[in-house]
């Protein structure tokens, strides 16, 4: 079953002569539990695709279903509940630079309305998952790029989302740190989270335990590996948490 499904999605930016096509009739399905790599040069439409899955943008045409729900029919007030099930990591980390790793990760859990003790425990657990010491008291600005990206990943997965979107997570990192981050993401996939990683760097294809590859160029899918090619070893041991969005979310 595809946990992310785009059907004939078209997206343009700007108007008139400045109108630029970002995605043109894109149809893809990301299987549940996959490690999918969205590969393409800058401007291919990778980030736009991720933003659409996160309901940060609305497609001009086509439908996007996440865990079976047409997310662009969600009411505005239901979008936060979608995002609690879709973690996201960016190239520029988007961390609170004056806050510690623990505080950064805790932010994602406070949103869920958890008691402080549970927030601390789960934030520490998320940091351990990305092999960072939860006792680090330094602010994020004092961490290395690799450490900052680990904090961002920990924050994205702290709430146990069903999906993790990673937009050029290794863009600012050297090959050694790139391998480390890819390994961390694979560890997360093995715990049951579907990972969709967007990158322009073909090196990632060699490093990632690839289960699906989507090639985008000029807003079109150039090649798409068949999800049925997934081997038994690629299926995670723990299935993703059930969809936790409110029942009334679909308008």
């Amino acid at each position: 079953m595809a946990i992310i499904e785009l059907t004939n999605v078209t997206m343009n930016y700007g108007r008139g002569p400045r109108r630029r096509s970002a995605l043109r009739g894109v149809s893809i399905g990301v299987p549940e539990g996959a490690f999918s790599v969205l590969l393409g040069p800058s401007g291919a439409g990778k980030s736009t695709l991720l933003k659409l899955v996160l309901a940060m943008e609305r497609p001009e045409e086509g439908t996007i279903r996440v865990a079976g729900r047409d997310i662009h029919r969600l009411r505005k007030g239901s979008i936060p509940y979608l995002r609690r099930n879709v973690g996201v990591v960016f190239q520029d980390f988007k961390l609170l630079l004056d806050a510690t790793p623990m505080e950064n990760v805790a932010l994602a859990l406070q949103v869920l309305g958890m008691p402080r003790r549970e927030v601390r425990e789960r934030a520490a657990s998320a940091l351990c998952r990305v092999e960072l010491d939860p006792r680090i008291r330094r602010p994020a600005r004092c961490l290395s790029g690799g450490e900052q990206q680990r904090v961002a990943i920990a924050r994205a997965v702290a709430g146990d989302p069903a999906i993790l979107l990673a937009d050029e997570p290794t863009g600012n990192l050297d090959p050694r740190l790139t391998q480390e981050i890819v390994d961390v993401l694979e560890g997360i996939r093995r715990r049951g989270t579907t990972v969709l990683l967007a990158t322009h760097d073909p090196l990632v294809l060699d490093l990632a335990p690839l289960t699906q590859q989507i090639h985008l160029e000029h807003g079109r899918v150039v090649t798409l590996t068949d999800p049925t090619e997934l081997s038994e070893d690629d299926i995670p041991e723990i299935l993703p948490a059930s969809w936790a969005g409110p029942a009334e979310a679909v308008a």
Binding site: L95, L112, G113
Partner: protein
């Protein structure tokens, strides 16, 4: 089930931390709100005390028909009913001797205990007649003459021109209070708007992250709205405090200097309930200003 409470705890803690991050801005905002609220409070207090003076002097009742001791109650009621049918009469009310004694006692303020032990029957019953706004003064005089001829009426008192002046004074003060209220409301909301806008800019990275990790609108906006409410209520409370200190310092001089005016009713400050309402008003202004700012800037 407790999740909303934990979220509320976060909102309050984050709002408090946000205020602590920029104490100078907060102090400036609270101080400016306090100055605005002080202006409004002073006008409202003057209006409220003027009403007290007018009531104590009986100027709020243009015509009072004092009844004879053995006035037939049915005849009195019939007269009141008849008066109420006149289009020039806004209201007509029978005042019993007991009510009259109670009012006199209230009007004397701290000296009210002088009346302890006095029988209500020492005061006559009366009919108080309020005229509709804009009624010709001649009508009042004519009505008074007609009432004076009634067998149940002993004597008629007409406040005359003073009643009109008192009414005008109250009207002016009331308009001033309303105008000041509107201006102060706008000013307070603008102050809160500005400080919250600064807070939103300073914390825009955090807002963006909160949205990405699934923060609801209420969760993202909550700390700012809380901050605005605290600013508004602190400003109002500070204004009330300053006003009380000023009132406490000035009112003995006013009562002594204007003893002719205040002899029948002491000056009074706001009741605790009114003070509470004033602070709640400040908090509401803060809430509105903050909500408007955060909806505009945090959603941009």
């Amino acid at each position: 089930m407790l999740r909303p409470l934990y979220s509320l705890a976060y909102i309050i803690a984050r709002g408090g931390r946000g205020m602590a991050q920029a104490p100078a801005v907060q102090l400036l905002a609270v101080g400016t709100i306090a100055v605005c609220m002080l202006l409004l409070g002073a006008v409202v207090l003057a209006w409220s005390n003027a009403q007290g003076v007018v009531r104590a002097w009986g100027l709020d009742v243009p015509i009072t028909a004092y009844l004879v001791d053995d006035a037939d109650p049915e005849l009195v009621e019939a007269t009141v009913r008849r008066l109420r049918t006149l289009p020039e009469v806004a209201d007509a009310e029978r005042v019993s001797p007991e009510q009259a004694l109670r009012r006199l006692s209230e009007g004397l303020g701290e000296d009210g205990e002088l009346l302890d032990g006095l029988e209500p029957s020492v005061l006559p019953g009366s009919i108080e007649i309020h005229l509709a706004p804009g009624t010709d003064p001649d009508f009042g005089r004519a009505l008074a003459e007609r009432l004076d001829q009634q067998p149940i009426v002993d004597e008629v008192a007409v406040a005359g021109a003073w009643a009109g002046r008192a009414h005008d004074l109250l009207q002016t003060l009331g308009d001033l209070a309303l105008g000041a209220g509107l201006l102060v409301s706008l000013a307070c909301m603008a102050i809160v708007w500005s400080t919250i806008r600064l807070g939103v800019y300073a914390r825009r990275a955090e807002i963006q992250i909160l949205r990405l990790v699934g923060g609801t609108r209420r969760f993202v906006h909550g700390p700012f709205v809380f901050e605005g409410m605290v600013q508004g209520s602190l400003g109002a409370a500070l204004a009330m405090g300053i006003l009380w200190l000023g009132f406490d310092a000035v009112h003995p001089f006013l009562e002594r200097g204007l003893s002719m005016v205040f002899a029948a009713g002491a000056l009074s400050f706001f009741t605790p309930t009114q003070v509470g309402l004033g602070i709640a008003f400040g908090a509401s202004l803060g809430l509105l200003g903050a909500r408007a700012a955060v909806a505009h800037y945090a959603e941009a």
